[in-house]
Amino acid sequence: MKTVFVNPQRCIGCRQCEFACAVEHSRSKDPYLAIFESPVPKPRIHVESGPWMGSSFPNRCHHCDPAPCQQVCPTAAIGRNDEFGVVLVDIDKCIACAMCAMVCPFAAITFHVQAEAAAPRVVSTKCDGCFDRIRRDEEPACVEVCKVDALVYGELNDLLREERIQKAVLAIDATTGVAPTEPDMLAGWRAWGKEVAHVAGGV
């Protein structure tokens, strides 16, 4: 079961995942045409800033199992595709009641007009795991466009093993005083943001 894994410490806030997501969920799938479509396609991934300048987190549906949104949906509009492990919204069944958003642990659900609805109207809008792409054995659009590995796609346990290896390196660094894995220059860039937060009177 492949999934998208987020490394928040890698995100540098460029928001290209948001743009790629909106284009992927447009009718034209073309960045030059998508911005002129009506309704304007919306991203289903949201990069929000962290506690200081230079920190950010790409937030999206994590396709939970069991999914709280699915459990509370009064019209059974939200279902799971077991083959690909993604939680999908049937927008024709959605009544835009926002129960799913209330229970989402990640606040990853928004409400927008979707062109695909039988009658265009505001419906529950969230990451569909790039269902069309992953069925073609392609990476999700946000992962493809992310050049810093803040978003990675693969078998969860493989990704977690990579993460474990990194954590092991960090743990050994911390206990032996070897240089951290974050490049010096990046640490310097981020240190400025933290210090500005301090100058402004705390985070």
Partner: protein, 641 residues
């Protein structure tokens, strides 16, 4: 816990206006900054490139994704290209400003303008002497025409070095010649930078950055210096003058006009027009008591320096001044004028009047400025402001607090005048250690730093440790608001600096003018170096731009460092994507031009860095010194921010 508004600005007048903005739902620069978060790390690190259509490209700063643009440029090349282009844009702004003054200077000498005259003939003749132009027995206008022609040559491509380089200490000029960074033409270096940073030209980051220094020098010792010195000839060389600062300079009973931007050409005739009896009578007819002019940013500084026109505030005040509901017109020329002012003006009766054909604003009334009809246009603009008074809603007027007195007008000539005509007393005070050194605190406001906090805190820490501070631009206005620019501020300084300021009757912080007047800082530094027979880089001097935002500030920082003065930036330049570029600018340049950049957003820590630098320079000169490393960082002495 610091409140949201306290995090935005430390200035009391700004805080009142920010509360109003919040209550009325008016977005300001701070809301727009928040809406932009998170800002793209590629651009903040300087590793994104849009210079060609094979791109746009970006380099993964973690070292795992793409490390080269499509053309093959690595992070070093991309960062250097971007920084080079920023320097060129900043230098171009100053140089264009200088050219506008130069054109009017020539036309005035030819008798073709209205509202202008040569006010400082002595300075004209001394400039002519610098350019090797004989002036004995010739009329001022004759000399001025010949001088203007010579300075126009400095803009071109025919010279080996620009004219004002004669002011630079010989040893520094030799250093530039050896490095191949002698500025040859004011426009030429900018054009060459654009050429070099086109795809496939200069791919060597060191070579690009060296040309960046040359480009910046063509601004500091070229475009900016032309702007400063010719403005002095046209409008008078500044002398110490008392005035007032902050939003309290607006007067409820008067027609208030704010002059905003950078170029004194237009504001000069507005000042004349505002005294026109017919227009004053019209203002009274509409119920006002008269016409009140206030300045913003550097147009304001130019008027403050020469005429004592009060200052409404600095860069981040420009939106807030409209929110007083007491501003009839904001007259703008160019540079640092936010496009947002026309939006905010829609909530009030304020007229935004744009005047420069190269700087138009959707939503503003454009009155095209033409120096041939200067006074007539000045009157037209003032008339529009007076008529707008009829639309003022008295209930909407909210002028916060009382203005603070400030002293300005410290041109190099005025400083030397205060010292009795020679730098000797200042040099002696530095030699004895009564004054440890001198620091130029310059630059803008940036909403990423609480407004004025960087400028005011750094200034306070330096003067209390007997470091003379000179200020320009928005930094100077911040210090004015904080009460640093009055003779009584000598009490805020250490005993050494305080005693000297008291003896001379001057503030411990000297307002040297607008941002182009950073050229005055160069002239002062060169005069001190020449007096001592050393290089500028040997002086116990430093520069700081605690809250800079603009490309002009990048050019200024570069020319100050290239001239040999260590400079601390409070806001990170977009260079951290390249370790090589950072190392060059913060370390490697020491062996090249004898000065480097530092980056330190905390003014408490910046003050320590600067004081350590000054003491190290004192030590090298054989003057009494404190061991630099014995000056502790605030966190080492348990002091909080």
């Amino acid at each position: 816990m610091t409140s949201r508004i306290e995090k935005q600005s430390i200035a009391a007048d700004a805080q009142v206006m920010l509360r109003r903005a919040h209550l009325e739902g008016i977005d300001t620069v701070w809301e727009r900054l928040a809406a932009q978060q998170p800002q793209c790390g590629y651009c903040l690190l300087g590793v994104s490139c849009r210079n060609c259509a094979m791109g746009p490209c970006r380099v993964d700063p973690f070292g795992e994704g793409p490390q080269k643009g499509v053309c093959g440029a690595d992070a070093d090349t991309i960062v250097a290209r971007n920084l080079g282009r920023s320097i060129a844009a900043g230098a171009a702004a100053h140089s264009d400003h200088g050219r506008d003054i130069l054109e009017v200077f020539l036309e005035t000498a030819q008798g073709e303008t209205s509202g202008y005259e040569i006010r400082d003939e002595a300075k004209l003749r001394s400039l002519a002497a610098e350019y090797g132009i004989a002036s004995d027995g010739r009329s001022a206008s004759d000399v001025a025409v010949e001088l203007a022609e010579a300075i126009f040559e400095d803009y071109g491509s025919r010279k080996e070095r620009i004219g004002f380089l004669g002011r630079v200490p010989e040893v520094r000029r030799a250093k530039w010649a050896e490095l191949g960074i002698t500025p040859r033409g004011i426009d030429r270096e900018n054009v060459e930078m654009l050429h070099r940073t086109h795809m496939g030209v200069d791919n060597d980051y060191v070579n690009i950055l060296l040309h960046g220094l040359r480009t910046s020098l063509s601004d500091g010792w070229g475009g900016s210096m032309v702007a400063t010195d010719l403005s002095d000839v046209l409008f008078g060389t500044p002398e110490p003058v008392m005035s007032q600062v902050n939003l309290g300079t607006l007067k409820r009973e008067y027609v208030n006009i704010a002059l905003h931007g950078h170029n004194p050409l237009l504001s000069e005739v507005i000042v004349q027009a505002a005294g026109d009896p017919e227009l004053v009578a019209r203002a009274k007819e509409l119920g006002a008591e008269g016409i009140n002019l206030v300045g913003l940013c550097c147009t304001g500084n130019e008027l403050l320096m020469r005429k004592g026109v009060p200052m409404a505030g600095n860069h981040l005040i420009q939106e807030l001044v409209i929110m007083t509901g007491a501003l009839e017109a904001m007259v703008v020329d160019y540079q640092c004028i936010m496009p947002s002012v026309t939006d905010i003006a829609k909530c009030f009766h304020t007229q935004i009047i744009s005047t420069a054909d190269k700087a138009k604003f959707p939503g503003a009334t454009h009155i095209s400025f033409d120096p041939h009809r200067g006074l007539e246009i000045g009157k037209q603009i003032v008339r529009a402001a007076v008529e707008a008074y009829a639309n003022r809603v008295p209930d909407r007027v909210l002028i916060p607090g009382e203005p603070v007195p400030m002293m300005a007008g410290f041109s190099v000539e005025a400083i030397l005048g205060a010292l009795g005509g020679t730098p000797e007393p200042l040099v002696d005070a530095i030699k004895s250690g009564q004054i440890r050194g001198a620091v130029a605190i310059v630059g803008c406001n940036n909403p990423k730093i609480p407004q004025d906090k960087g400028h005011v805190t750094l200034t306070q820490r330096l003067i209390e440790n007997d470091v003379l501070v000179v200020v320009t631009g928005c930094a100077a206005i911040a210090n004015g608001k904080a009460g640093h620019l009055v003779p009584e501020a000598a009490d805020l300084a250490g005993t050494g600096l305080g005693a000297i300021a008291k003896a001379l009757g001057i503030p411990p912080v000297l307002h040297m003018g607008s941002c182009v007047d950073n050229s005055r800082v160069l002239v002062l530094a060169a005069a001190l170096a020449n007096h001592l027979g050393v290089d500028i880089s040997d002086l116990p001097m430093a520069g700081a731009a605690p809250e800079w935002y603009s490309e002009k500030a990048v050019a200024i920082g570069a020319y100050v460092v290239a001239s040999g003065i260590y400079t601390v930036l409070g806001v990170q330049p977009p260079i951290f994507g390249s370790e090589n570029v950072v190392n060059l600018l913060t370390d490697g340049l020491e062996g090249v031009v004898g000065a480097t950049f530092g980056v330190e957003p905390d003014p408490e820590r910046a003050a320590v860095l600067i004081r350590r630098h000054i003491e190290a320079k004192r030590k090298a000169l054989g003057l009494p010194f404190v061991e630099p490393d014995s000056i502790a960082m605030p966190e080492e002495v348990g002091a909080g921010v």
